[in-house]
């Protein structure tokens, strides 16, 4: 019983892994933005990245 459940669970894990690899899933933090205007190519400064206000690191040890 436990083995069957584990086999089922393992099969699901492997299937998810297969989909993740095939579809190229990633753990990176990425934001999807729709309908970016074509004018960005001519005026890159017109686009505001949501990460532009990110707190930047300011120095080593």
């Amino acid at each position: 019983m436990m083995r069957s459940l584990y086999m089922l669970y393992g099969a699901v894990v492997m299937a998810v892994l297969g989909v993740a690899q095939f579809q190229g899933w990633s753990l990176a933090r990425v934001n999807e933005v729709k309908n970016v205007p074509r004018s960005i190519r001519d005026n890159p400064g017109a686009y505001r990245s949501i990460y532009s206000s990110y707190h930047h690191y300011t120095g080593g040890k």
Binding site: G10, V13, L17, Q21, G24, P37, R41, Y51, G60, K61
Partner: protein
């Protein structure tokens, strides 16, 4: 069945074992009678005023054990003392005129089907826990104690007495237990096999439910031991599949460089720093895109706001990457922090024509930073293999832990308890 009268109280006695019994105990006055004597000589009388025990399987009940009909003809309670505390279990004598005697024992809802051995086991008395071997199977010593008979009822194939004591040693190999009973110079070996109360109730067609089993018994089979083994076998199979998948996806991944460009960022220069790259094609099925940044940073940082924009649909994948590299020397020696390069995998990017919008940021006064951006299509992501391994490992580890806890509970009651960590006081 033969009807007689007790010479002690005159009550009717029922003899069920066709002259095979050695002693009979009167159910009315609890006189122990010599069954071999035509006059049923009284051998012993004992008082049961306060501790009379009612057998869970009444005397005279018939049932099938291992395909053979048996009748319950005798019952006794035996008691041992451990650390000053008395522990009692019950034994039932079963009789079949063709097969002879066998026994059932019950302790806290745990039952054993017991038969006398016809051959002697091989005893290995040395080591941390002595062992015995019987029919190729090894049994580990569990407990040795002095057991005294404290209550008897019915017929017995030996000279039973209340108060008689024997040294009992149990050796276990679940679901079996080998027991030696030594009284004087006589040693009797028996083998018990664990059986559930439910099966006993079914075999003897008893009404109601058996008492619940309390705790873990010495030869109670662990419900998890075989499952644990099976699950680790399955885990090994999945691990192999995981490796095969890793090799397979590595082989079919495009891992194709679609863009590279070298850039310069001057943090002292005012004005718009953002720019867009040339266009590039992402081909194949929806898959990852790796954006790699290589810099010449030296005790500095640079932050890059990236947007991977699909020229046709206007859909963008917006992300930011900080690259920083610091190094130095202090009282602990030399140190480094961060690195000059960074890479990120943008997930599930459909095929299409794309470009990057890049906006670098840095502290004013840092001056010029040279960096290269490289874009690759369909790069294998190994972090998911680690997560999958963890997901497969957790249930197997939990089950193993539960199985070990079961064994811990079993051996905690033995003469060889597991080592206790920490102080209980």
């Amino acid at each position: 069945m033969k009807a007689l009268n007790c010479p002690g109280c005159g009550a009717a006695l029922t003899v069920r074992s066709f002259g095979n019994a050695v002693t009979i105990v009167c159910e009315s006055c609890h006189s122990i009678l010599d069954a071999k004597d035509p006059n049923l000589q009284i051998l012993q009388r004992f008082k049961v005023a306060t501790d009379e025990v009612r057998p869970l399987i009444p005397l005279g009940t018939r049932g099938k054990m291992r395909g053979t009909d048996y009748e319950v003809i005798g019952f006794q309670r035996r008691t041992i003392e451990v650390d000053g505390l008395p522990y009692s279990w019950h034994e039932y004598v079963l009789f079949n005129p063709y097969k002879g005697f066998r026994y059932l024992t019950e302790y806290n809802g745990h039952w054993n089907d017991v038969s006398i051995l016809k051959a002697l086991p091989e005893v290995h008395p040395y080591g941390f826990a002595p062992t015995v071997r019987y029919l190729g199977e090894s049994y580990r010593h569990f407990q040795t104690s002095k057991a005294a008979t404290s209550f008897v009822l019915g017929e017995f194939p030996w000279q039973v007495r209340v108060g008689e004591a024997a040294v009992v040693s149990d050796y276990v190999s679940p679901p079996r237990v080998l027991s030696s009973e030594q009284a004087g110079n006589e040693v009797t070996w028996s083998m018990g096999e664990y059986i559930t109360g439910k099966d006993i109730w079914k075999s003897f067609r008893l009404s109601g439910n058996p008492p619940d089993a309390v705790g873990v018994y010495e030869n109670q089979p662990s419900p998890l031991s075989s499952e644990t083994k099976n699950i680790w076998v399955a885990f090994a199979g999945f691990l192999l599949l995981l490796v095969v998948m890793m090799i397979g996806f590595d082989m079919i991944a495009r891992d194709e460089q679609v863009f590279t460009g070298a850039y310069r960022y001057d943090s002292n220069q005012r004005g718009e720093a953002s720019f867009v790259t040339d266009e590039f094609d992402l081909r194949g099925h929806t898959s990852s895109v790796e954006v790699k940044t290589t810099t010449d940073l030296n005790n500095r940082w640079i932050y890059l706001n990236y947007a991977l924009i699909n020229e046709d649909t206007g859909k963008a994948f917006d992300f930011g990457r900080e690259v920083s590299y610091y190094h130095g020397y202090d009282s602990d020696g030399s140190w480094t922090e961060g690195g000059q390069n960074d890479s990120v995998a943008v997930p599930s990017v459909p095929a299409g024509r794309y470009y990057l919008r890049v906006e670098p940021e840095g502290d004013p006064g840092y001056g010029v930073t040279y960096y290269t951006i490289t874009v690759k299509r369909d790069v294998p992501q190994y972090s998911f293999y680690g997560l999958a391994l963890l997901a497969l490992l957790i249930p197997a580890a939990l089950l193993t832990w539960r199985s070990l806890s079961f064994e811990h509970l079993r051996w905690a009651e033995s003469d060889h308890p597991p080592i206790k960590w920490g102080n209980d006081e």
